[in-house]
C-alpha cells in the first residue's frame, strides 16, 4: 500500500522503518511530516486568534487517484525503492499531524528530490480543502500562490 487517505493518525517511526525494512539496497530514506500550525490558524484579529481547529474536507476516490498519480510521476522521474503517502482528513487541532511522505532510494539525492516533489505536487493537485473553526463559524482557507509556484518549479508533468 503506497497511498492512504484516513481520519486516523499515523506512526512516523513505523512508516519510516517500513520503507527500509527487508530492503538491503536502501541507503536513504527522506521523509516529511506536515503539522497543523498554531500560527497558521491565528491571524491578526482577536477572532482569528481564537481559531482552535480545522476540518479537512476531501473528494473520496479522486483523492486516492490523484495521490497515486503523483507517486507514479515521482517514480517515473527518479529511481526509487519505496514510497509512502498518508494524508488525513476530518477535524484536526494545532500540533496534529496532517501528512506523511516517505521515499526510499539507493542514494540521498533522489530520495530528497522525490519527497519534496511529491509534497509540492500534492499541495496543488490533491483535492483537499481546509476550513478553520472560529468563534464566528467556519472560514475556508485560500489556496496559496506560493504552492503553485513550488509545484511549477518541477516543470510540466
Amino acid at each position: 500500500m503506497r497511498v492512504s487517505v484516513q481520519e486516523a493518525d499515523f506512526d512516523v517511526g513505523a512508516e519510516t522503518e517500513a520503507l527500509a525494512a527487508g530492503r538491503p539496497e536502501v541507503g536513504a530514506v527522506a521523509s516529511f511530516v506536515g503539522y497543523v500550525r498554531a500560527d497558521k490558524l491565528a491571524g491578526e484579529s482577536a477572532a482569528d486568534q481564537a481559531v482552535s481547529a480545522m476540518t479537512l474536507e476531501h473528494y473520496p476516490g479522486m483523492t486516492e487517484k490523484s495521490l497515486e498519480a503523483i507517486v507514479a510521476e515521482a517514480e517515473s522521474r527518479w529511481s526509487l525503492l519505496g514510497v509512502r503517502v498518508i494524508h488525513r482528513f476530518g477535524r484536526l487541532v494545532p500540533g496534529d499531524r496532517i501528512v506523511f511522505v516517505g521515499v526510499a532510494g539507493s542514494h540521498r539525492g533522489e530520495a530528497f528530490a522525490a519527497c519534496e516533489f511529491i509534497m509540492d505536487y500534492l499541495k496543488t493537485r490533491a483535492p483537499f480543502w481546509k476550513k478553520e473553526d472560529t468563534p464566528e463559524g467556519g472560514r475556508w482557507v485560500d489556496a496559496r500562490e506560493a504552492d503553485d509556484a513550488a509545484a511549477e518549479k518541477w516543470g510540466q508533468a
Binding site: M62, V99, P127, W129
Partner: protein, 84 residues
Amino acid sequence: MSIKVLYFASLRETLGYSHETLTLPASIATLGDLRSHLARRGGVWEALDEGRNVRAAINQEMASPDKAVADRDEIAFFPPVTGG
C-alpha cells in the same frame, strides 16, 4: 446525455448542493459549456461565472474547460485545493 455533478468545500456551501444528476441539452459539448450552463441559473450559481476561481475534474481527474463531457461522466467543481 446524463451526468453526475459534485460540488466541494466553499462551493458546496454556497450552492447548497453536494451533488446532482443532470440531463444535458445536446448543445453542451465541453466542461466549459457545462460550467456556463450552470452559471446561467443565476443567484448563488454565479459562483461558477467565468471570472471565479473554480477548478474542475472529469471522472476524478483535473480537467480544463476545453475537455469533452460524455454521457455518465462524473463531473466535479471545487475551489483551488489546500491540502498538505
